[in-house]
């Protein structure tokens, strides 16, 4: 239990929190290295998933993305991010390697869930909308998308938590963020700092989950709220 005492001592020390290497500065870094890839992946994967779900196209590609996406370990994603950033694009260490890695990580659950959510929107509803003379565009934007929104938002929430929880790996590529405390603590045999880092990451992940839940209430049409689908959890099923 010494480690736990060390952790509390580390967390209570004022020097832990302030300065350019303090918890507050590292939290801001953590937010950036998580938010940039998450938003980018959402911008790519959700429209792609929604459109291929609507047109019932790209099932083979979708299945491939899902299977291969699940099979690539997060540490391997970091390697690809590193090689892409350092060797191919010349963007160097620290920020971009983990951002690329998290972008790749987020693509699969977002795409798979958007695709499934739209494809499995109640057929009777879609049929009724077509019967009322709604155009393809209107069917997609006014029926399928709102109906699919609970599942899509669940996927966003789970993905956001996954991204935030995987972001500490970036510290292996000389990156910032809260992972620094875990990696540095481990490297310096400082269990207190290491466990403190783990706790901070967990708290950060919970805060992110809470924020996205708040966002869900604004995005999802009121009658559909509370219908968050367990299948989204299953489709994202991959430990970070």
């Amino acid at each position: 239990m010494d480690a736990v005492v060390d952790m509390l001592r580390w967390l209570l020390e004022p020097g832990t929190w302030t300065g350019p290497r303090g918890v507050l500065a590292r939290s801001v870094e953590h937010l950036w290295i998580s938010l940039v890839p998450l938003v980018a992946a959402m911008a790519v994967a959700i429209p792609a998933g929604v459109l291929s779900g609507h047109y019932r196209r790209g099932q083979a590609v979708g299945a491939l993305v899902t299977n291969v996406g699940r099979a690539v370990p997060s540490l391997a994603l970091l390697v690809f991010g590193l090689l892409l950033s350092v060797r191919v694009l010349g963007l160097g260490f620290s920020f971009w390697p983990i951002v690329f890695a998290l972008f790749f990580l987020a693509l699969q659950p977002l795409f798979t869930n958007s695709y499934t959510a739209v494809r499995e929107a109640e057929p009777a509803l879609v049929e009724a909308a077509r019967g009322q003379g709604l155009s393809e565009r209107e069917v997609l934007l006014e029926v399928e998308l709102p109906v699919a929104s609970p599942v899509i938002m669940t996927a966003v929430r789970i993905t956001a938590v996954q991204v935030v929880a995987t972001a500490p790996l970036g510290a292996l590529a000389a990156g910032g963020g809260l992972g620094r405390f875990i990696i540095d603590g481990f490297g310096q045999n400082d269990d207190g700092q290491m466990l403190g880092g783990v706790v901070l990451v967990a708290v950060f992940a919970l805060l992110v989950e809470w924020s996205v839940t708040r966002l869900e209430r604004r995005v999802i049409p009121r009658p559909l709220q509370g219908r968050t689908d367990a299948s989204a959890v299953a489709a994202a099923g991959r430990a970070a």
Binding site: N67, L83, A240
Partner: protein
């Protein structure tokens, strides 16, 4: 783009791979062992929990809720949390790996057993099957496709997580990633460490699918959860 790629791959000693096939093979075997132990232990625990959850319905909620909470802890963090208490040992790695298999395995096993049609069970009871025979000869075989679907997801996840355990212990092929990072981005090691587990995961996934088709020839479609 090709120029860029050529420049990016210039000066990489790919010959390291052919010169170190022995090491790579050894790490692959270690990777398979770490995965295999976790899968066997995880599967055994999951079967017990699933059967308990089916016989005593009230347990299902708490069991899946607990497993679900464990599943959301970042693996990276879990291994580091265990390390001060259980040391940098295989045990630490395996505890984490086994815990991560439980949610998917229990959920799929229970779903598979629940999915056995009531009239089939009724017919078997009518033919005089005892509860144990009913379970072993009717319910379990019919649930196999869904159980194996769970095993496939859990195996793929575990192969990936073994890579992470390289941070605290052996880690199979993941060790090459850590080495490659420490040796000033030694690309061949990084590529082996990253692509190796991916291919291993895909291969094991395919093998389990073939196994399922072989032992349940009556069902071509596995209900993947």
């Amino acid at each position: 783009m090709t120029g860029l790629l050529a420049q990016a791959s210039g000066g990489i000693r790919w010959s390291w791979i052919t010169a170190n096939l022995d090491d790579i093979w050894e790490a692959t075997v270690e990777h398979l062992w770490l995965t295999g132990i976790a899968m066997v232990v995880g599967f055994a625990i999951a079967m017990v929990l699933s059967v308990a959850a089916i016989r005593y319905r009230r347990l299902y909620g708490p069991i899946t809720a607990t497993a679900g909470v464990i599943f959301t802890i970042p693996s990276f963090a879990l291994f580091f949390v265990l390390a001060p208490f259980t040391g940098l040992t295989v045990l630490t790695a395996e505890i984490g790996l086994v815990l991560y298999t439980l949610l998917v395995l229990v959920r799929n096993t229970v779903a598979g057993l629940d999915g056995v049609p009531e009239d089939v069970k009724e017919a078997a009871r009518g033919m005089g099957y005892t509860r144990n025979r009913l379970f072993l000869e009717i319910e379990l075989p019919l649930a196999i496709p869904v159980i194996i679907a769970g095993l496939r997801i859990a195996t793929v996840t575990t192969v990936g997580l073994v890579t992470i355990t390289a941070l605290i212990t052996f880690g199979g092929l993941g060790r090459f990633i850590i080495d490659g990072l420490q040796q000033n981005l030694f690309v061949p090691k990084l590529v082996v460490g990253a692509l190796g587990p991916t291919l291993l995961a895909l291969a094991l996934d395919g093998l389990l699918l073939l196994l399922q088709r072989a032992i349940t020839p009556w069902s071509r479609r596995a209900a993947a959860l």
